[in-house]
Amino acid sequence: MPKKKDIPFASIEFGTHSIKVLIGEFSANDELTIIGRAETESLKVVKGEISNLGMVSEQLAQAIDQAQQMAGVDIQDAFITLVVSGTYISQSIVSADIAITSADKLVSQDDIDNAIRNARLKDASAKMDILNTSNRFYTLSDGRQVLDPIGLASHSLQTSLLLIQARKDRLRTPINLIRQCIGRDPNDITYVPMALGKACLSPEEVERNGQILIDLGAGVTSYALFTSAGCHTAGQFTVGFEQAANDLSIAFGLPIQYARNLLQSFESLKLSAISANDGRSRLIDVERGPGTLPRRIAASSVEQVIQLRFTELFQIIKERLQRDNAWQWATGTVRLSGGLASLPGMTALAHDILEHEVEIAVPFNVRGPSDVLSRPAFIAPIGALRCAKTALDIYNNQTEDASSKSSSATSNILGALRNFLNI
């Protein structure tokens, strides 16, 4: 295991739109500097999963090469984290009760650790690997749900834990790809929703509770709700840019690439994710392919197709947060990341549906190339770098978190890391 000091960190994400590799370093004050970046087009990743190993392997090799050259480091020397999302990853909530045995009946850190340990044992499955875990809240013997029970009096303590698991067989595919490229497995695995909070929530914002993060990717939409205890709820579903482009393709009879181009041209065409519903007062010419005349269609119709799709998407997220009893905790701002976050009108649409303040996610305490920092599509791999650092810090037992309340939240990362290394 590499030492913490001076070690570069790398994140690798096999996105549906592009394969991204970031290399970064952390300073003493925890500031992250991106020193290498690469992005290659994903040709064979569908709904977040790799569909052609050979082609993706070439693209990955190309991306790693570019990132290494820019960073001036060998990725072999880096602590590498693989960023994952996809239908083979599931979320579950487990809980466990313990009795408070101390004479004063005040909850201690040891109590919390024991409760978490018991909870994690409950959902062990031979076919699944635990990727991440996070505290949701604690319940005291009088029924109160609290985020920080240390020092509170109670006869018992129940912990509610969010467990992120992945099917071992399907997880091996991206791991093997990395091994083929660089000769070894990644050191860590980060689930996209967990990375989002690490990327753009400052410690003060985390303490403020109830922050929702939504990553609107090309193949997968991920969401998470963070409180001061940790990640309260996380989830994903395989709907994103590609479905929206497909909708346009079907509605207007466009070849899919031209539908994608249309969606990417929203800003230049002055279109919005919220339809102006102005009938045929605005007409746009849409390319349909070489040798064919452009098709003239009502801008309002294009907007309507997109608005329907993303209205539904945000409604699903809200529905799921309500189903998981998480919506009541959502008191803060909603942040959007991913390639679609900057689609004109997207934040306004999210605001209408979610009825919360919405803004585009911005990475916290990060320096680096402006095209990385300014693009919401890089939020997840940036957050993964921070997750990797946390994992390594815990492993080396040198982080301040290890001695604070959140060590209970992150100690399970250590367990996940150990688990991962045993694959």
């Binding site: 569908v46 709904k47 239908t87 579903f237 395989t238 709907v239 590609e242 479905q243 497909n246 909708d247 393709s249 079907i250 509605a251 207007f252 009879g253 899919i256 009938g279 045929r280 269609i297 009502a298 309002s300 119709s301 309507q304 197709v305 329907l308 799709r309 209205t311 539904e312 699903i316």
Partner: protein, 374 residues
């Protein structure tokens, strides 16, 4: 049906007659009888010598028809809507069938858009009448077929192709009811399907051959032109599916086919499946699906400021403001939650499911939202 019924296929008007003749090639057995009803000028040109009877559409023709209905167990009507002859003939034929307690299945085509508003309105009125009189009414909008034709298809050819398609649909629907089946399906299943006030029934057909016969048939089923329209999948509440297999079909193919068919539909859908072997199928599989969508009950109150202008309006009250007209409603054939249907680039991928919906199908289709794509 265990006891194969004696069925009369009757074509009304020009379009119906052409469809009937095509069907006659498929149902080649003494158990089936064929007839044509049309104006005398049209019947002169019709060669029905080895096929069946003709009934010139003139005074008293239905009394002649009545005699021919004796002893039958099912009357199947083919007709095109929009004109005058076919609906009037249908009204009379249905009345005679009712006197003999004979069930009636009607296949009726709706006019192409280019035939004009008058014919569409006439079609709409005829549909109301047919709904009341038929045990099962299956509407087939020509316009949806039209969208499948190349732009340079001439008008006559378009009509001919529509006729052929209708005949194939009718044969696919009816054959399993007329023979001993591997999995029996009764005519009552069909009447049950359409026994719902204001229900609309959509039809889809798929064929497949070779190793991937099942997958191919499912793929074609989902691309059927009559399923090519709008609406949320949760609207469909029932389906009757007929699987026809060639004589050399294997048990494995049958099992695979039934599994694939069940997977097509939401678990909450009421589904009846029948399977039969069809000697006219050289090889492969044909899947025919009839899906029911219970529609809205049209308002019956007329606007007091807009009095009826004709007697016909008594049976066809003016729709309220913002309600689609009867013609529009009939033309809006909804679609079901068929995996691979309208999924475009996600055709071959594991679907993204949420609350029994396939999220890969565009939202505007699942929500039955009309998009101005002109």
């Amino acid at each position: 049906m265990k006891d194969t019924p004696k069925i009369m296929f009757i074509g009304l008007g020009h379009a119906g007659t052409k469809t009937m003749l095509t069907a006659a090639e498929q149902f080649n057995s003494p158990l089936y009888v064929f007839a044509a009803v049309d104006v005398p000028n049209e019947l002169i040109n019709l060669d029905m010598k080895d096929v069946g009877q003709t009934f010139p559409f003139e005074a008293g023709w239905e009394n002649t028809l009545e005699q021919s209905l004796t002893g039958l167990q099912l009357l199947v009507i083919f007709m095109g809507l929009g004109g005058k002859t076919a609906p009037e003939a249908a009204r009379a034929a249905i009345a005679k069938a009712a006197e003999k307690h004979l069930p009636v299945v009607t296949f009726a085509t709706l006019p192409f858009d280019f035939e004009g508003e008058q014919r569409r309105t006439a079609a709409s009125r005829a549909v109301t009448m047919l709904r009341k009189g038929s045990s099962a009414l299956i509407l087939l909008p020509n316009q949806l077929l039209f969208e499948q034709f190349p732009d340079n298809t001439n008008v006559l050819a378009a009509f001919e192709r529509a006729d052929t398609w209708i005949a194939e649909v009718a044969c696919s629907v009816l054959k399993p009811f007329t023979r001993s089946n591997i999995i029996n399906i009764r005519f009552e299943n069909l009447t049950w399907l359409v026994d719902c006030k204001n229900a609309t029934v959509s039809v889809g057909i798929g064929w497949g051959e070779g190793e991937d016969a099942v997958a191919e048939a499912v793929q074609q089923l989902s691309a059927s032109p009559f399923l090519k329209h709008q609406t949320g999948i949760s609207q469909a509440d029932a389906a009757v599916v007929m699987v026809s297999m060639s004589m050399d079909a294997t048990i494995g193919q049958l099992e695979g086919c039934l599994t694939a068919v069940k997977r097509l539909f939401s678990p909450h859908l009421k589904l009846e499946i029948g399977a039969c072997q069809d000697e006219t199928l050289a090889e492969g599989i044909r899947i025919t699906a009839l899906m029911r969508f219970p529609g809205r009950t049209p308002r019956r109150q007329q606007d007091a400021s807009a009095p009826s202008t004709s007697a016909a309006d008594e049976t066809h009250p003016a729709p309220a403001a913002d309600e689609p007209s009867e013609a529009e409603r009939q033309l809006l054939l909804p679609m079901t939650d068929i995996m691979e249907y309208k999924t475009g680039i996600f055709n071959k991928n594991e679907p993204t499911k949420h609350n029994f919906e396939n999220l890969d199908v565009p939202t505007f289709i699942r929500r039955n939202i009309h998009i101005d794509t002109n």
